[in-house]
């Protein structure tokens, strides 16, 4: 049996109380909600926090309020099952519902939360292994070691962001609310991430991600496409989120395309976006935008499938995501 290491467990009932505990414990404490990312990591010795602060007993940060007309507020501890099956999400934000329902398995979606999916630890073939495996290669810079085995000359860790919701929420202009004893702030989801597999989140250890704010539905159309080996369980090896705002005559007024699982943060495909603006979404335009998006993707050999094929799929999946948005 793989056992969890020992820890002190706090179960505060309000965000204030949780914030005070985190402020007092410093960097020793880790926030936990569903536990589906943190507990496996703790069992494999990636993270050994002496203190856990559970958000499960804080009713205020669970659930969804608002309407598609006004925008939604999603509590960070809302389970992925709740989020993916919520009527307002299914009707106004269908691409988000489909991205959520593509995460892992139905059982893990009963447990995992949207906040947890956004804060998901970055992943790498040389990191997501048990302690003995990692010790046999003298560890890597993300945990216990000093070298990046994917690119030994790299100064930063290249573990990839594997969230299915992050690229779509970034493209939609979603925002995250972060609260600590030092106050609260709102951050665009696109700014929540750093291009660094170790320091991948712009969230201080004492901050709690409490809710996600979605803009009103309508006026835009969105799609999310995910590449993985199996139809469930697997993290994305590539995720493509596309959101388009169109003029009445069908020309594109604005476009957002984000690729995920090709770097330590969701990447915005700016050149592809620029290429789309002012044009109609015909086959030629889609092909050109997808080529530009794929140029930006530089997958490294740290996930499933070969890197050349993953890069080629960046073009194919961007094409598919944009084809979903054709009239």
């Amino acid at each position: 049996m793989m056992r969890l290491p020992k820890f002190v467990y706090h179960a505060p009932t309000s965000v204030d109380e949780a914030g005070r505990i985190l402020a007092g414990e410093g960097t020793a404490a880790r926030v936990v909600a569903g536990g589906t990312d943190l507990y496996p990591n703790m069992k494999r010795g990636h993270q050994l926090p002496p203190v856990l602060v559970s958000l499960r007993r804080i009713p205020k940060i669970t659930g969804i309020s608002g309407t598609p007309e006004t925008g939604l507020r999603i509590g960070a501890c809302t389970s992925l099952t709740q989020l993916g099956s919520h009527p307002a999400v299914k009707s106004g934000y269908a691409a988000l519902a489909s991205a959520v329902l593509s995460i892992s398995t139905p059982i893990l979606r009963n447990m995992g939360t949207i906040g947890g999916n956004l804060c998901l630890d970055t992943r790498c073939n040389y990191y997501n292994q048990n302690y003995e495996w990692r010790r046999a290669i003298h560890f890597c810079m993300k945990c216990d070691g000093s070298i990046c085995w994917v690119a030994p000359s790299s100064k930063t860790c290249l573990a990839i962001n594997s969230s299915d919701t992050a690229p779509l929420l970034a493209a939609l202009g979603g925002r995250a609310r972060l609260i600590s004893t030092r106050g609260e702030r709102e951050l665009a989801i696109k700014d929540l991430y750093n291009l660094d597999g170790i320091d991948y989140l712009n969230k201080r250890p004492d901050e709690i991600l409490t809710e996600i704010l979605l803009p009103p539905a309508g006026g835009w159309i969105a799609s999310y496409r995910k590449l993985r080996r199996r139809g469930s369980f697997d993290f994305p090896v590539l995720g493509v989120a596309a959101v388009l705002w169109k003029e009445p005559d069908g020309r594109i007024r604005d476009a957002k395309i984000y690729l995920n699982a090709v770097a330590s943060a969701p990447l915005e495909a700016k050149e592809a976006e620029t290429c789309l603006v002012g044009r109609k979404l015909d086959t030629e335009t889609i092909r050109e935008a997808a080529r530009l998006a794929a140029e930006m993707a530089k997958p490294v050999d740290n996930a499933d499938f070969g890197i050349a094929w993953r890069k080629r799929m960046a073009r194919v999946f961007t094409e598919r995501a944009l084809n979903d948005l054709k009239e």
């Binding site: 969890l4 020992k6 002190v8 467990y9 069992k43 494999r44 139905p106 369980f233």
Partner: protein
């Protein structure tokens, strides 16, 4: 707050009975069920959330017992494969799995039975696609799933017409 070095007293409602015991805060529900409460029907597989073998029901929702702390389950209704049937006999799912040979080594069966029960409780006549989707988090390395799907369909049929 719990001190990590001291045991805590917990009272969990498992299969309709309140069970009291002392455990460390780092004990998962899986460890407690098997090692403290003697309910070894729940199997341990990968213990990392990658197989679905340890699935149990909490408030009639399939949950992986390897990734939830026992202390997080207080006040909730836990059902394991031992408590699947409300009476002394087998649950229709268990009957159907036995009759159709929907198990070979049987290791994944308790988890699959729990997941299937939650499905049939909310959807009396699921389609094949709905059964596939609901069981997408339970791996079976022997049967190839077809007999499992057929057994769930047979159980659903019998639960719809219990008199026959």
């Amino acid at each position: 707050m719990t001190n990590g070095k001291q045991k805590i007293l917990l009272a969990l409602r498992v299969n309709g009975e309140v069970r009291e015991f002392a455990c460390y805060p780092n004990r998962t529900l899986l460890e407690v069920l098997r090692e403290d409460l003697g309910l070894t029907g729940t199997k341990h597989g990968c213990e990392l959330g990658e197989c679905g073998t340890c699935t149990i029901l909490i408030d009639n929702q399939p949950i992986l017992s390897c990734l939830i702390l026992a202390l997080e389950c207080e006040g909730r209704e836990i059902v394991t494969v031992e408590g699947l049937s409300p009476g002394p006999g087998l649950h229709p799912l268990q009957e159907a799995f036995g009759e159709l040979g929907a198990a070979q080594c049987g290791y994944c069966t308790p988890g699959i039975l729990c997941t299937a029960k939650a499905l049939l409780d909310r959807n009396r006549r699921p389609s094949r696609a709905e059964i596939r989707a609901a069981l997408a988090g339970n791996l079976c390395r022997c049967t190839g799933y077809i007999k499992i799907f057929e057994a769930v369909e047979l159980a659903a049929e019998r639960m719809e017409r219990p008199s026959e």
